[in-house]
């Protein structure tokens, strides 16, 4: 109590030393404070009772049961995925900025040369085990080639199953 009043005095050095002992309360006369405090308490109770009575405010998801209708928030980040258009083509230029941006060494961008000798993406390795879903790789990518996906059911029985290959030129049908 004393520390509070001294702090308030130091903040307003010009004010006269007429502090009430309960200076942590809002300003006004004794009775005015009681009434305004009571009104604000009632307002708080009104807010919580709307949460209680309105079932639409419930945010809890009953996950295994409502798997089909599960609502995901747009900002939710899970397994990294590659953005592909309708033909299945990606827009990665294998610049390797994501690999450098990653604090954990999660990403390895392996390059290869195409027929004209230009650098292109050979294999994109993503180690889910090390990923902290910090989103730095997505933010660094100048081409918007990667995005944090919404698939969160990522458990596996084998560590090797968690080293994902997001793209491999060998697997591509047109290669």
């Amino acid at each position: 109590m004393n520390t509070t009043s001294s702090r308030q005095n130091s903040m307003t050095p010009g004010s006269p030393q007429k502090q009430t002992p309960a200076s942590s309360l809002p300003s006004g006369s004794y009775f005015k404070r009681i009434v305004s405090g009571f009104i604000s308490l009632l307002r708080g109770m009104g807010l919580t009772v709307t949460y209680l009575t309105d079932p639409r405010t419930v945010v809890t998801q009953q996950y295994p049961e409502n798997r089909a209708t599960l609502l995901m928030t747009p900002r939710f980040r899970a397994c990294l995925t590659m953005v592909r258009d309708e033909t299945g083509a990606h827009c990665c230029t294998a610049c390797g900025l994501c690999e450098k941006a990653c604090p954990n060494g999660t990403i390895s961008v392996l390059t290869m040369k195409d027929l004209s000798g230009r650098k292109m993406l050979g294999k994109y390795v993503y180690r889910l085990l090390q990923c902290t879903f910090c989103n730095l790789c997505v933010e660094t990518c100048p081409f918007g080639a990667i995005v944090m996906g919404q698939n969160y059911e990522l458990a596996a029985y084998d560590r090797d199953a968690l080293v994902l290959t997001l793209h491999s030129e060998e697997d591509e049908p047109h290669a």
């Binding site: 109590m1 309960a22 009681i34």
Partner: protein, 366 residues
């Protein structure tokens, strides 16, 4: 002096007791009736926390836009059973250097205190174990025991967190006990009797004859003050400085585990029921039906047994306690003490003086 000359006189005997008295000869019938009364109170004291724990968790969850327990039974109805089984099978630990006797005695005291108060509560006009002339005095004396349990638990644990929690709890409960006693004294002054049954019978008539309305405006203020003081006395939020799980590692219950912790936990919920029942008895007309003064409806409301009204009102008050807990942030220790000694206590003394003035002017019809 007969306090209620032209009011309905409710018979104090109940049919079960009468039946036992006709079937069994005199000295044994009293023993049997006493046994039945104790058994039914024990059943109430053990079932109430089970209901209240589930209710608290569900109400808390919905106040916070959650769902609460949903998996054990329909909407989590069997959750208290699961909790109870878990607590029973947990190991009971005793810290090194703790006072063994006091350490295991302490959890029993709060439960005992709330059980003692149950014996004088009028659940219905014929459902009361004993109607003491000084019922209010007995309630104040018996509920003092629970403070003793808390202090002993804090001291005997041989742990600084427990001791600090216990001291805080003791200071808080003793301070607010004074407030509660003053409010009970106010009702005693208004009713002209200290027997809880007498207090209920002094509120006969319509809903406007309950003490919350019969003592104009001040009755409502007194009821709100009673809710605040009893919330603090129960160590519930926003006055749960004793427990303050985010600040005090659990207060006086730090070292308790298993069934000894469960005893504190159960006592807390029985205490909440008792406090709500007292609020009902003192301010909301106890077991009396909420009559409106319209002939037909009144007869319909009167047909409902009194204990249904009693439990309905009590659970209504319990809901208000839960509403408080899950809406307001916790107070600081010094704020709590300032609130009690500088706000509540003067207000209660003022209310008492006003009540005395009303009675001398004969503005309150008896």
């Amino acid at each position: 002096m007969s306090v209620f000359p032209d009011k309905v006189l409710y018979p104090p005997n109940n049919p079960i007791g009468d039946l036992v008295r006709t079937l069994v000869p005199a000295p044994f019938s009293d023993v049997l009736n006493g046994g039945l009364a104790i058994f039914s109170l024990l059943a109430l004291a053990s079932l109430t926390p089970v209901v209240l724990i589930w209710l608290e968790r569900k109400v808390a969850a919905h106040f916070q836009a959650r769902l609460g327990p949903m998996r054990v039974g329909w909407h989590g109805t069997l959750q208290p059973v699961a909790d109870g089984i878990k607590l029973m099978f947990k190991e009971i630990l005793k810290p090194e250097g703790a006072d063994t006797f006091l350490f295991f005695l302490a959890p029993i005291l709060p439960a005992t205190a709330s059980f003692l108060v149950l014996t004088v509560l009028p659940f219905d006009h014929h459902l009361q174990v004993t109607d003491l002339n000084a019922g209010v005095l007995f309630v104040i004396a018996a509920s003092g025991l629970s403070i003793f349990g808390v202090l002993l638990a804090g001291w005997s644990s041989n742990n600084k967190y427990s001791l600090l929690g216990g001291i805080r709890a003791g200071a808080q409960m003793i301070s607010f006990e004074i407030s509660l006693a003053l409010l009970m004294l106010l009702i005693v002054l208004l009713s002209g009797t200290a027997s809880l049954r007498g207090i209920v019978l002094a509120q006969q008539g319509t809903i406007l004859d309950w003490w919350i309305f019969k003592f104009p405006l001040f009755g409502l203020v007194a009821f709100i003050l009673f809710l605040i003081s009893s919330t603090a006395e129960l160590n519930r939020g926003p006055f749960d400085i004793v427990e303050a799980e985010s600040e005090l590692t659990g207060g006086f219950t730090t070292e308790y585990s298993g069934i000894s912790f469960a005893m504190f936990f159960f006592a807390e919920f029985v205490n909440m029921f008792v406090a709500a029942a007292l609020a009902t008895t003192l301010f909301l007309g106890g077991f009396l039906a909420p009559q409106m003064g319209w002939g037909m409806l009144d007869r319909l409301l009167d047909a409902v047994p009194g204990f249904v009204w009693f439990f309905a009102k009590t659970y209504g008050v319990i809901f208000i306690y839960m509403w408080f807990r899950w809406t307001f942030p916790r107070l600081r220790v010094d704020q709590l003490m300032v609130f009690e000694w500088k706000v509540l206590l003067p207000m209660h003394l003022f209310l008492l003086a006003v009540a005395g003035f009303f009675i001398t002017m004969e503005w309150i019809p008896l």
